[in-house]
């Protein structure tokens, strides 16, 4: 069983190790990173993740059981960061190891979709206003007369 809610850095290499097992020839790992999106408040520089820990861990464990039953996954990873994450940091790692690739792809897709839809984790954007570069008066005049 590998479900985790942590304020520590998530390692894709660590997920690969957790997904090792006899006969598990198809391994799919998905990692999500914080993007520098631009919204109404400006450019995102970080996301604050919060969770309701006990129900979240129970839901993650239920998703893992479902993935094993539905896709025959021999090993499953469902890891999520909490706290403040800067742009570029990995917020989530999910992975599935199955006998063959098709089941592993399907299982990994199922894991991330279910996690996003049904696990009590929330993110709040932290953004800075974007400054527009000032136009030089001379260039502005030249364009207006062309």
């Amino acid at each position: 069983m590998s479900v985790r809610l942590t304020d520590r850095t998530l390692s894709v290499a660590g997920a690969m190790r957790a997904l090792e097992g006899p006969g598990l020839g198809g391994v799919v790992v998905f990692a999500g990173r914080v993007r520098p999106d631009r919204g109404r408040a400006g450019r995102v520089f970080a996301l604050d993740y919060e969770t309701h820990r006990a129900p979240a861990l129970r839901r993650l464990a239920a998703i893992e059981r479902d993935a094993r039953a539905r896709f025959g996954a021999g090993r499953v990873v469902l890891w999520h960061r909490v706290g403040r994450l800067k742009v570029g940091e990995v917020s989530v790692v999910v992975g599935a190891a199955c006998a063959h690739r098709a089941a592993a792809f399907d299982a990994a897709r199922f894991l991330i979709d279910e996690l996003k839809a049904s696990v009590p984790i929330w993110k709040t954007e932290r953004a800075r206003p974007v400054r527009r570069p000032r136009r030089r008066p001379g260039r502005a005049r030249a364009r207006s007369t062309g």
């Binding site: 129900p55 999520h80 989530v92 996690l115 996003k116 696990v119 009590p120 984790i121 929330w122 993110k123």
Partner: protein, 88 residues
């Protein structure tokens, strides 16, 4: 301890927390408790800013998802407001 026995602890997350600027509320209830739907209505009346978040939320009672809003919430219970999730 006596105070906790006569109250429900309300946990607020994400937009619900931001609406009130706090993570928890101590909500007084009678010794017989209150139905979950009545509790939600009372919260919305007392804190109109919370209304939008409450309409979109799921509720968690003592760590379990609440499927029946006629469930009694009793003194000492925990009642969590879960706005739509956004992990990943």
């Amino acid at each position: 301890m006596t105070r906790r026995r006569s109250r429900v602890v309300i946990l607020l997350f994400a937009s619900a927390r931001e609406a009130l600027g706090r993570r928890t509320l101590d909500w007084p209830v009678s010794p017989d408790g209150v139905r979950a739907d009545a509790l939600v209505r009372a919260l919305a009346r007392t804190y109109p800013r919370l209304g939008l978040a409450l309409r979109a939320s799921r509720f968690v009672h003592n760590g379990e998802y609440l499927h029946d809003l006629s469930t009694p919430i009793r003194p000492g219970d925990e009642f969590a407001v879960h706005p739509p999730y956004g992990g990943g």
